[in-house]
Amino acid sequence: MYVADRLPGSCSQRIWCFAISGDRQYIYGSNPTLMRKVNYYEYVWRAFKWTLLNGLLGLAPLIFMCMMNMMSSQDGFSREIHHLIEDGVHLFVCCALMGAVVVDFWLAGIPVAGIRLVFIYLMPVFVLVFLLFEYLLIFLRVAEAGNFYISSTTSLVVIGLSFVYCIFAKASLYANEDKKI
């Protein structure tokens, strides 16, 4: 029996061929991880690329404005760029990336328990609460609005934690997707 199938989600780029002969099943495909001993760092590297490229795409309008500002003789976008960064547009992108990973994990229905559950589901909540407290303080007029510079403590904590979370949680998701086959 020969079945060629296209897997959903992040595996959609790879075509897998299943050749079943008697009671033994052989799996052939473009994924090298099933052909030899699995190296977890390949998943981490793939997740790192996913995070970086998604982050760049999320910030594409801002990067475009920065490029235009650099190339032109006028400072046409300077005010807009400062305005966007001070309002925390980079933190919105971090939240979107973490949200993408956690929703993927939830929809994939991968069972996790114990401390893994804390890492997968509570870490983004922690980062989100950390960020929302800052907005709450602004709302209560305790903190000043427009203080989300890249070098601010809130920005550094949110960017750092969301980057680490996205890399390791996405790597875990890739690994679990491959385990299901």
């Binding site: 099943q25 799996i27 893994r116 890492f119 997968i120 491959d178 385990k179």
Partner: protein, 45 residues
């Protein structure tokens, strides 16, 4: 009362959370490595 004296509580909570998350990351990676290298997941080339 000076609120600066209580900053260490926040730092302690955040540090504890970071330690828990770091343990979670390590345990998750260990579990995935173990599962992926189990005989069930090893396929002949």
């Amino acid at each position: 009362m000076n609120t600066q004296n209580y900053n260490w509580i926040v730092v302690l909570i955040v540090a504890a959370a970071l330690v828990v998350f770091a343990i979670g990351i390590i345990k998750d990676a260990q579990q995935n490595i173990k599962d992926l290298n189990s005989p069930k997941n090893k396929k002949p080339a």
